[in-house]
């Protein structure tokens, strides 16, 4: 169990261009506190690349390899093999991609890398749409959400399909470790990152990372919404370990309305 008070005050990501209240950069910053300096990040054209690695403003204090949108996990495999060849042990290779770069265009490469059993951690910071390109729906957009490609009009009622079950997909690969997390539950999230580090082979974490402009809420609500998503049962905190799926119990479920009401993307839904 990670103790928040014992986390290092050293920052491995700083000076980024992220929006105020960005859940994605928070997910990365928190993870790096656990992952530590012996980490290589592999990332992809996304909000994250846009706000951290635009030359000459480079926000990471760990090596970072940017690659094409579909290829995060494939480049991860390459970095893992390369470091092995160079005899560099104890360096963790971490793929970081948004939901589009993971569940849609990046899915094939991720499937290949998991199936090969390469030793890496893949963190999907899930903000439930293509936020970098202006809030278009992705395979991770929840049912009913308004995006720029699932607009609400006299006929359109937002996203028509339920969110893709990515945990189920990676679990079907017999992955050693997979989990969902939320930046609203840092201890749970960071403990999962720590578990992922101890796994021999691939590990996958999908961390819900609210997006103020994309979801349409005031930026100070990011952590609160990340908690409400869990408390309303919209985003279960699950773990897939040794072939078993466990889900964190929610003692007092909040009404779904509490989660949906502050967000403009759900404003069209009946009260």
């Amino acid at each position: 169990m990670v103790k928040i008070k014992e986390l290092p005050d050293v920052e491995l990501v700083q000076g980024s261009y992220a929006c105020a209240g960005c859940g994605g950069i928070l997910a990365v910053r928190m993870a790096l506190k656990v992952l530590g300096p012996e980490t290589v990040i592999v990332t992809t054209p996304s909000c994250l690349l846009g706000v951290t690695t635009f030359y000459p403003q480079l926000a990471f204090k760990v090596p970072c390899v940017n690659v094409t949108f579909p290829s995060t996990a494939a480049a991860v495999s390459g970095v893992v093999a390369g470091l092995k060849c160079r005899g560099k042990k104890g360096v963790r290779v971490v793929g970081l991609a948004g939901d589009g770069g993971t569940v849609d265009i990046g899915l094939q490469a991720l499937s290949g890398a998991i199936e090969r059993g390469d030793n890496f951690i893949f963190i999907c910071y899930d903000n439930e749409a293509y936020m970098n390109t202006g809030v278009q729906r992705s395979g991770a957009t929840p049912l009913g959400a308004r995006t720029t490609t699932t607009p609400v009009g006299s006929v359109g009622r937002g996203e028509e399909r339920p969110k893709k079950d990515m945990l189920g997909i990676v679990a079907a690969h017999n992955i050693p470790y997979a989990a969902t997390a939320s930046i609203g539950y840092p201890q749970d999230y960071l403990t999962k990152v720590q578990k992922a580090m101890q796994v021999e082979g691939p590990a996958y974490i999908q961390v819900l990372s609210p997006c103020p402009p994309g979801w349409g809420y005031p930026s100070e609500l990011t952590v609160k919404l990340a908690r409400l998503a869990v408390q309303t049962g919209q985003w279960p905190l699950a773990e897939y370990e040794n072939g078993r799926l466990t889900v964190k119990e929610i003692a007092h479920r909040r009404p779904l309305r509490d989660y949906l009401a502050p967000q403009a993307r759900f404003a069209h839904l009946p009260g």
Binding site: P37, E38, T39, V40, V42, L49, G50, T53, F54, Y55, P56, L58, F60, K61, V62, P63, C64, V65, N66, V67, T68, P70, S71, A73, A74, A75, V76, S77, G78, V79, V80, A81, G82, L83, K84, C85, R86, K88, V91, Q108, A109, S111, G112, E115, R116
Partner: protein, 391 residues
């Protein structure tokens, strides 16, 4: 050691001799026997490398890129649709200035679906910032792969290289190949250790973003490196000759060009057939020559001009087409010769698409067509010389 190898086996032998450390591959015909052979080498312990069995060509190149930035020597191979599928990764690798070598067993692009040779696949990747070298024989395929590692990693070049060999015609046809000793190759090709690599002690970013103020500078330096590569390709060829007593002339490979009225320009294995035809026509007293273009990118403008300056007519045989215009090589040769005070006429021909045989008769026909044009010119008749399609 002399061995009976096809082009693909020769490439695999070169990759082993170059001591590639990471190979990522996805099978596609007619490339697949290259990476099968490498897999056998690793399985029998005669080659020490990490073999990443990826799920697509796109992933193959992404994995090579990821490995190369850690400072390892990498290899992959592809053909046709596989190269097209890699297209997005190609400028990523070259723009990030990651040296690597990829063999392309050239094959036509669908539709119609085909598995046989032409150059459309690699030509379509012309502007992706990769060096493209086209070889004539299996021996040259082996030697060029060794040269390519040296060219790619040259500190003033730092650009990936495609070694292009015609599908089946070279990839699956056996010839006697001189396979150099490992010790000799080690003397020619030192281990790859770049100045910048993935290192937690020195945390660089690879593949950065760049805004309009800086992006052009990155591209300018890339262009400078490509232009510099012209001299480096020649230097490496000379160095190769000093080590192995074999040379391919660097960028272009002229054959009887010095006094030829008609010179045929080709790339790849067609040159072998063309040499026979040149010999035959020379015996008949015709002033014909052949120019094999070895380096398509960088484009050897100066060397071409020097070799073609005395020609009256330059015939260009393209195994590709830029649809709506003409063969790509024909356009490029015209552009290269445009600055000369006395310009030879250029006639573009398109042939050998999708593996159609290019026979001696086809090539003799091109020469005769152009020789006749020279004779008409000598009679004072003015007319444009048109090339033709092999339909």
């Amino acid at each position: 050691m002399r061995a009976y190898l096809n082009g693909n086996e020769a490439v695999a032998a070169a990759v082993r001799l170059a001591r590639a450390e990471v190979v990522a591959a996805y099978p596609i015909t007619p490339q697949s026997t290259i990476v099968e052979k490498i897999a056998e080498y690793i399985a029998d312990g005669s080659m020490e490398a990490d073999y990443i069995r990826v799920e697509s060509e796109h992933a193959a190149l992404a994995a090579c890129y990821g490995s190369a930035v850690t400072g390892t020597r990498v290899f992959t191979a592809t053909s046709s649709q596989g190269l097209a599928y890699m297209f997005e990764m190609l400028p990523y690798v070259s723009g990030c200035r990651v040296p690597m070598v990829m063999a392309v067993a050239n094959r036509g692009l669908a539709a119609p679906w085909t598995i046989w040779a032409d150059h459309q696949d690699a030509i379509a990747c012309r502007d992706t910032g990769w060096i493209q070298l086209y070889v004539e024989t299996a021996q040259e395929a082996l030697d060029t792969c060794l040269q390519a590692y040296k060219i790619a990693a040259h500190p003033e070049v730092l650009t990936p290289v495609m070694v292009c060999l015609d599908g089946y015609v070279l990839s699956h046809t056996e010839e006697i190949v001189d396979v150099p000793d490992q010790e000799a190759v080690d003397r020619f090709l030192p281990p790859y250790r770049p100045e910048y690599s993935v290192d937690t002690q020195r945390p660089y970013v690879f593949g950065v973003g760049a805004g309009p103020d800086l992006y052009p500078a990155f591209k300018y330096y890339q262009q400078q490196a490509m232009l510099r590569a012209k001299e480096v390709i020649k230097e490496v060829d000379r160095e190769f000759q000093a080590h192995f007593q074999r040379s391919y002339g660097g960028l272009v490979d002229p054959y009887y060009c010095h006094d030829a009225a008609v010179v045929l320009v080709v790339m790849g294995a067609t040159a072998g057939t063309a040499r026979e035809v040149v010999d035959y026509l020379r015996r008949q007293g015709e002033a014909v020559g052949l120019l094999r273009l070895r380096s398509f990118r960088p484009f050897p403008v100066e060397d071409l001009r020097a070799a073609l300056t005395r020609a009256r007519v330059v015939a260009v045989l393209d195994r590709d087409c830029s649809f709506g215009y003409e063969g790509v090589l024909a356009t490029e040769i015209k552009a290269a010769l445009a600055g000369l005070p006395v310009q030879p006429q250029v006639a573009g021909f398109i042939g050998g698409l999708g593996g159609r045989d290019i026979s001696q008769e086809d090539l003799a026909g091109i020469f005769r067509h152009c020789l006749e044009a020279v004779r008409r010119q000598d009679r004072g008749e003015k007319q444009v010389i048109n090339g033709d399609w092999q339909k």
